[in-house]
Amino acid sequence: MALVEIRDVHKRFGSQEVLKGVSLDVEAGEVVCLLGASGSGKTTLLRCVNHLETMDQGEIKVAGELVGYARGRDGKLKEEPDRVTSAKRARIGMVFQRFNLFAHLTALENVAEAPVQVLGVAKAEAEKRALDLLARVGLKEKAGHYPHELSGGQQQRVAIARAVAMEPRLMLFDEPTSALDPELVGEVLESMRRLAADGMTMILVTHELAFAREVADRVIMMADGQVVEDAAPADFFSAPQHPRSKAFLARHMRTA
């Protein structure tokens, strides 16, 4: 059984249908990159996985469980209680484009907050582990700093440590480097590369094609709310099959 099972997911915002029946499996330990032009629905799909976004049709299971929904007696999906969804989300890490570090907490507190508040870990223990995780992303000496005292790259590395602190079985990355100055991208990608090497299951939306080529196990090409190509990176980058993939690569290889 795949760790993530996405089946026929539909989503509309008003009159615009952004996901038109997406199906996808992600195995445990896999790194999957979602590629596609903006508006292709990749970020929306990612946000459906941990139910930050609701779906109109279809279902998504993580580790065999529906997230955000429960199946009623009539067979239809109903939103489940907040408490239940929250508990499931705790095991799915997410890293945002704009970092979203808690502005009123130090780097250390950012990392330790959810383990204490959600998992009930003792504060001293959570802070000790937080310090270890900050060391792993190279930010041990910034532990006492507030987010606005850190660079974008440092903030994003703290955000990765914050997600990892929850010991997730799956991590979602929503364009983690697109809000960064080019010279800061490398340090964030390095942290992600190490996570992948440790065997973390990752779904990432990115425009870093070199990174996708190097780290990903599979590349998913999305266009107009649908998956148009699902291939190994070596095949995808050397011989794209779908015309939309070809156009996308042609555009991005030139600029990259």
């Binding site: 929250s86 508990a87 945002f96 009123h104 809000a179």
Partner: protein, 518 residues
């Protein structure tokens, strides 16, 4: 001889004009050709409004006085608090507003008696109450106005004969409000001026006088009511005295007493208790009375009112902040009904003057609920201020919450926090930085707004001040002390506010989102 003949000729020419006016108009009137009279037109049957015109016994008296001087009578309607200061400031020639002649008032003003006062109980006719004096009221519910002779008499009885089974005192802004409590059965007795007792019993057959006309003080005769004059303008006083004597002689005075059914008010019945010579010791020059100022400043009589003011402020703000949190969360909720309720709440409480709300909670609610809800003034006032302030706190807290980047909440939710926990741990602490400074300002504004509660006789700082200058007429000195007390309290709150803000900022510096856009 020639000169005498000339003088005689002059008199012959002048006499027809003099003959038309039995009393010479005095010099130095506020407005030439007009007798300007200050009055409070909420006191039937002596001074009130009917069909938009001033009417009543006092009004008729002053019209008759003006007529005797060939002048026009002009009435200026003011609140009680505006009567004596207005007279001092030469806005009127004299006051006619059912004013009792008291020793304290006579220190600063001259009075010409025209009516005999006194106080009386009113009850429901069906009860057949009749008491010789206030000592019979133990255990009953009695409505009257705070700070009056009636209130003093009742409080004296509660200290004395009614110590075991005290009189349940209820204070209202007017005798009319007090009498209305009889109709709603919220009170057993209304303790009012006798003229009002007579008037209301004629107007409402279900009510009846429940005592003889009494003085309110043992061994003291009923007081006289007088027209009040400035001490330095004897001419006007003399002219009005002369006019009243003429009215008494001509029978017009008797006709007016009969017209208003106020026969018991005839001042000639007990000529012996007319006031003696007024003390002439005090000059009327407007000077700062530093002794009165310092005596008031260093007296202990403001301690309790200051605590009351502070207590009301804290309690009302506590209500407001709780309401504000509830209101803000409802305003930001997904439920249309909740949002609608908040909109209605904001619209109503921000649109109706807070003074109206205060009087509503105290006076209208008991009538509306047939006395099921009858809050003490302190509670009613605090609730009214808290509810009103809650509307403003809702807006302050709402804007604090929406100032927090939605990404903060989203990150908290993605980490597995429930909605409530994300609000408590992540959104609220950041919103507080935006909420705290304006809330401090609202605290200080609230402290000042509590002064409106003097309208329902809550013993806060300003009401205490009005009570003091109502007795000694040292407006400026007393208001200066009142202001000093408010400054002390607002200064104290400002210090607290600064302390909280400083502490909050040391730990949690302003959020500057270091976002770089691509």
């Amino acid at each position: 001889m020639k000169q005498i003949a000339f003088l005689f000729a002059c008199l012959m020419v002048a006499t027809p004009a003099l003959a038309a006016c039995p009393v010479n108009a005095p010099a130095g009137l506020v407005t030439q050709g007009t007798l300007t009279i200050g009055t409070m037109l909420t006191n039937p049957p002596q001074t009130f409004v009917e069909n938009g015109q001033p009417t009543g016994f006092d009004i008729d008296m002053s019209r008759a006085i003006a007529e005797k001087m060939c002048l026009k009578a002009e009435f200026v309607n003011v609140t009680f608090a505006g009567l004596f200061p207005g007279l001092m400031a030469r806005k009127f020639d004299y006051l006619s507003s059912g004013l009792g002649i008291t020793p304290q008032r006579r220190e600063t003003f001259d009075f010409v008696p025209y009516f005999r006062g006194g106080i009386q109980f009113v009850g429901r006719r069906e009860n057949h109450f009749f008491f010789q004096n206030e000592d019979g009221l133990c255990g009953l519910r009695v409505a009257t106005i705070a700070g009056t002779t009636q209130a003093s008499a009742l409080e004296r009885a509660n200290q004395g004969v009614c110590k075991q089974k005290s009189i349940d005192l209820k204070y209202f802004p007017s005798f009319n409000d007090a009498a209305m409590q009889l109709r709603t059965k919220a009170a057993d007795i209304a303790f009012v001026d006798w003229a009002f007792a007579s008037y209301i019993s004629r107007l409402m057959p279900e009510l009846a006088p429940a005592s003889p006309i009494i003085s309110g003080r043992p061994e003291v005769p009923r007081n006289l009511m007088g027209l009040a004059f400035r001490k330095d303008e004897k001419v006007q006083e003399a002219a009005v005295t002369e006019a009243i004597q003429a009215l008494e002689k001509s029978g017009e005075y008797d006709k007016l007493l009969d017209k208003w059914h106020l026969r018991n008010g005839d001042i000639r019945n007990q000529a012996d208790d007319r006031p003696g010579a007024a003390p002439q010791t005090r000059s009327f020059a407007i000077v700062f009375d530093s002794k009165a100022f310092f005596d008031t400043l260093f007296s202990t009589q403001f301690f309790l009112p200051a605590l009351t003011t502070l207590g009301i402020t804290l309690a009302a703000m506590a209500i407001a902040i709780l309401l504000g949190f509830g209101g803000a969360l409802a305003a930001l909720s997904r439920s249309k009904t909740l949002r609608g309720i908040v909109q209605a709440y904001l619209g109503f409480f921000r649109g109706v003057p807070v003074l109206v709300q205060i009087v509503f909670w105290y006076n209208a609610l008991p009538v509306l609920t047939n006395n099921a809800i009858n809050l003490p003034a302190l509670v009613a006032g605090t609730v009214a201020l808290g509810l009103n302030e809650g509307a403003y706190m809702t807006e302050i807290i709402r804007s604090g919450l929406i100032s927090v980047d939605p990404g903060q909440r989203e990150a908290a939710r993605a980490l597995g926090m429930t909605k409530a926990k994300a609000m408590r741990r992540i959104v609220m602490p950041q919103a507080l930085r935006v909420i705290i400074p304006p809330t401090g300002n609202q605290f200080i504004a609230m402290l000042k707004t509590t002064s409106l509660l003097f309208a329902i006789a809550v013993p806060e700082i300003f009401a205490t001040g009005t009570g003091i200058y109502g007795r000694n007429f040292k407006y400026f000195e007393v208001l200066a002390v009142v202001s000093i007390w408010y400054l002390l309290l607002t200064g104290f709150l400002t210090l607290v506010q600064k302390g909280i803000e400083r502490r909050f900022h040391l730990r949690q510096r302003p959020a500057v989102l270091a976002v770089e856009h691509n």
